[in-house]
């Protein structure tokens, strides 16, 4: 069930909120846990058992560590969580890669070695990492293990962050898990954040997705260089608004039920270096890798070469975390390489440069990286990059997709809004608006009403787009 679906918005969410707020506080966790399992099972079916198994493994591991069986607990958590992740996410990729290598070197391959397709349980990467961070934090003495499986299960399964993050650390929400307050003010802040996230996803990300999908799915000889650039810009905006919109919705839903999740994005496209980009992009993931992989590997405390090695390892697994394909690994290593170069001296130079030049360098590096992220295979990525560079010949077939084909009023407006909202203009506007309201406090009812009407207008607009997505008219039956 997606947050941006009618069934979630108009059936699951209202009933969930109604019951949640009617129930006494002591039942909140139990209800949130049960509702979250229903939410997951509705979309994923019996695979909900994988989520429960993962939660159970880490719950037991946490208890074992606290009872003094530290190594056994840690190994149970790592082996249990990672084997589930490996089986469901990477087994097909691993076997296919081995078979591919064997084929390339004409090695004999036993018949029947190929694996049938294993369906990926949605959110497994998120809840696996949450579980591992929980046990590692107990192992390192940062937190105490939760004695109640119900409370721990609520943390893991909680539907607001269940399927698309952010990676919420147990340590960050442990106090709220035990005791949290829900107020109408907090609910309102959460609802506002949710609506903004929904609008980002439905109105912006989906518009950019349609642009990017058309271009990336078109044969390369049907569009010119300018269209390739339009495609990658569209994709960059799509992935940002899609992911950050989802994080906004998660943060908003969290607030509605009394949790304060940390921010996951901080305007990554205004970064002035790749290092800066990773401080702003998917913060919960990059900080997870920093704290649980990079620092345990030694971080930057040893020699330069060790630091470079650690960086490359972190970005290799970052790539692999995003998906089981060589393109994701290349994308991760590509970013790792930039970080390495910046650490080797480029970073200092970038700091001294005129800021627009540093921004341009970062944006260009990120855009090129997204090509590997978006395309399915390496040859596809190379073809697309050639297209962006104006190599690989001009369109030979009918030139179907000149930029003018895409640039209608809706896309132009969306691009402009997208460019603006990818920078910290909205918080600036919001602060200014709040100052204005504070200054004109005598008419705050009018001003706030205007703001709220605008916010609800955005919600209705987003829901209109959702409704249109379900509208499938036929000219005639079977004609």
């Amino acid at each position: 069930m997606l947050f941006s679906s009618a069934i979630f918005l108009f059936l699951f969410l209202p009933f969930f909120l109604l019951i949640y707020y009617l129930l006494p506080k002591r039942f909140h966790n139990a209800f949130l846990f049960a509702a979250s399992l229903c939410f997951y099972a509705w979309g994923e079916g019996p695979v909900v058992l994988v989520l429960l198994l993962s939660a159970l493994i880490n719950y037991i591991a946490g208890r074992l560590i606290e009872q003094g069986r530290r190594r056994a607990g840690l190994w149970l958590s790592l082996a249990g969580s990672l084997s589930l992740l490996f089986y469901y996410k990477y087994a097909n990729f691993f076997v296919d890669s081995v078979l591919g290598v064997a084929k390339a070197f004409t090695l004999p391959v036993p018949a029947g070695l190929a694996l049938t397709h294993i369906a990926l349980p949605i959110g497994i990467s998120f809840y696996t990492f949450q579980g591992i961070s929980y046990t590692l934090d107990i192992y390192w003495g940062r937190i105490k293990a939760n004695r109640s499986f119900l409370d721990y299960g609520t943390y893991v399964a909680m539907f607001p962050h269940q399927i698309a993050g952010p990676i919420v650390r147990y340590a960050d929400i442990a106090p709220e898990l035990a005791d949290r307050t829900t107020t109408i003010e907090k609910f309102g802040i959460g609802a506002e954040r949710f609506i903004l996230g929904l609008a980002k996803k439905v109105l912006l990300a989906n518009t950019f997705a349609s642009l990017a999908d058309t271009i990336f799915n078109a044969p390369p000889d049907t569009y010119p260089t300018a269209t390739a650039w339009l495609g990658i810009v569209g994709y960059s905006l799509q992935i940002y608004f899609d992911f950050s919109g989802y994080s906004d919705m998660a943060i908003g839903l969290g607030k509605m039920v009394g949790f304060d999740f940390k921010e996951n994005f901080n305007y990554p496209y205004v970064a002035r270096s790749i290092q800066d980009f990773w401080r702003r992009w998917h913060i919960s993931l990059s900080s997870w890798f920093r704290d649980y992989v990079y620092i345990p590997l030694g971080g930057n405390r040893a020699s330069k070469m060790r630091t470079y090695r650690n960086l490359l390892i972190v970005f290799f697994v970052t790539g692999l975390w995003h998906g089981a394909s060589w393109n994701f690994i290349i994308w991760g290593l590509y970013h790792g390489l930039f970080l390495l170069i910046e650490r080797a001296g480029l970073g200092k130079r970038l700091e001294r440069l005129w800021p627009p030049v540093a921004h341009a360098y970062t944006i260009l590096a990120v855009l090129v990286g997204w090509v590997f992220f978006r395309t399915e295979t390496l040859p596809e990525a190379i073809h697309f990059l050639q297209k962006m560079l104006g190599l690989g010949g001009q369109p030979t077939a009918m030139m179907a997709y000149p930029p003018s084909y895409f640039l209608n009023a809706e896309l132009i407006v969306s691009l402009l809004i997208g460019f603006v909202l990818a920078t910290p203009v909205y918080p600036y506007f919001q602060r200014g608006w709040e100052r204005l309201v504070a200054r004109l406090v005598s008419i705050h009812i009018l001003l706030n009403s205007i703001y709220v009407v605008g916010l609800f207008g955005l919600f209705v607009l987003a829901v209109m787009y959702l409704a249109a997505d379900t509208y499938n008219p036929f000219i005639y039956f079977r004609f």
Partner: protein, 390 residues
């Protein structure tokens, strides 16, 4: 002047903070209540049918509320998802507003896969109709293997028709893209070096003896005097159908000289106010966007053809039989799509008996039963590639 104490200052700060929090509290309370209301409105609509004035124009059966059959939980969930997606409260009203938002404000098609907005008030079908846009863009050239398969299949049908004493023809109704390229959206090419229809025609003439009736020239020649296609629809109008009938009958006459010469003057053409066609109906804009003109045809002489049988089929256009009292004329069996429906007014006037069937499959039993002299397979240009599965 009274001396201010620290307690006064503190209470003033607290009061001032409280004052500052007031607007924020008002805003968040308003958002909370409004959001709660917005979430429940669709449930209220499903319960109280508040938006019943907005009907779906989808021309399909929307998914019904499923019943749960234990232990088929997954099936139930899938069916319920579909049901809810297609029936949630205010859905039709939301699409109604969405359609106007996209068309009026953003000047783009509300359903670009279904409908393209052309120039000068013209609308064209989109890629959801057998990739028609890609076909006319040259992005989906019909493959030679497909052509070979079509030729084999049609030749087999031709042999079977011959055995029944009937001559087989293939009659292609051109797409509006072909006849009115000048009104296509500006990003589309006005003319391709070779269309799928051209390729089909060339292949058939080289590899088979099946006559392919091409009415493109006749239609293009006639369009300077009258509008031949509905501007808001996928189909030709009554006049376009008349021109096509005339061209078809005169082609058949080459093999059946007893057929009368078909002339436009056989009918009186009266211009009438156009209505919104199927394309704008899909967008729910059919009351606002209508054809600039339509035509009503009446035979110039007393009507000969009598409708003797109409077979209504659920969700299909009807089968119709017409007869005239001229025993020397040949008998026609036409198996066609919705384009042949508009020819019902004119086509039966030229045959002893006409049986007009709307079907997607060729049933040889019909030929055996009806004993026609002429069998015409009518198909719209965009669906030529499906002739192999007829």
């Amino acid at each position: 002047m009274a001396k201010r104490t620290p307690t006064d200052d503190t209470s003033q700060v607290v009061r001032s903070r409280e004052e500052n929090r007031k607007p924020q509290r008002f805003k968040t309370t308003l958002i909370s209540l409004g959001f709660g209301l917005l979430l429940t409105l669709p449930i209220l609509d499903q319960w109280l049918t508040l938006s019943s004035g907005f009907q779906s124009s989808e021309k399909r059966g929307l998914a019904p509320l499923p019943s749960f059959n234990f232990p088929h939980v997954q099936t139930y969930i899938a069916q319920f998802n579909r049901y809810y997606k297609e029936n949630f409260g205010w859905r039709n009203a939301l699409f109604y507003v969405y359609s106007r938002w996209k068309y009026r404000i953003l000047a783009t098609s509300p359903l670009p896969e279904k409908v393209l907005i052309g120039q000068n008030g013209w609308f064209y079908p989109g890629n959801s109709l057998n990739k028609i846009l890609n076909q006319h863009w040259g992005l989906a050239p019909i493959h030679v293997d497909t052509l070979a398969s079509i030729a084999r299949h049609l030749s087999q049908l031709q042999r079977q028709c011959d055995a029944q004493g009937a001559k087989l023809y293939v009659f292609v109704a051109p797409d509006s893209y072909t006849i009115y390229p000048e009104n296509l959206p500006s990003f589309l090419p006005k003319k391709l070096p070779s269309s799928n229809f051209d390729r089909f025609q060339a292949y058939m003439s080289q590899h088979t003896t099946i006559p392919v009736v091409d009415v493109r020239k006749a239609l293009i020649a006639a369009k300077s005097d009258h509008v031949l296609y509905q501007q808001t629809d996928t189909h030709w109008n009554e006049f376009g159908a008349l021109v096509a009938t005339q061209a078809l009958v005169n082609r058949l006459r080459q093999d059946f000289p007893l057929l009368p010469v078909a002339r436009l003057s056989d009918f009186v053409v009266k211009p009438v106010q156009g209505v919104g066609g199927d394309l704008v109906t899909m967008l729910t804009l059919h009351h606002e966007l209508v054809d600039s003109i339509d035509y009503k045809l009446t035979p110039a002489r007393p009507l000969h053809a009598r409708n003797t049988e109409t077979v209504h089929i659920v969700n299909e256009l009807p089968y119709q039989r017409f007869v005239i009292n001229s025993p020397t004329l040949p008998k026609l069996l036409l198996i066609g799509d919705s384009f042949s429906f508009a020819m019902t007014t004119s086509l039966p006037e030229y045959f002893r008996e006409s049986y007009l069937v709307r079907a997607h499959t060729f049933d040889m039993n019909l030929v055996k039963r009806e004993h026609p002299d002429i069998v015409v397979i009518e198909i719209v240009e965009r669906n030529i590639d499906s002739l192999g599965q007829l």
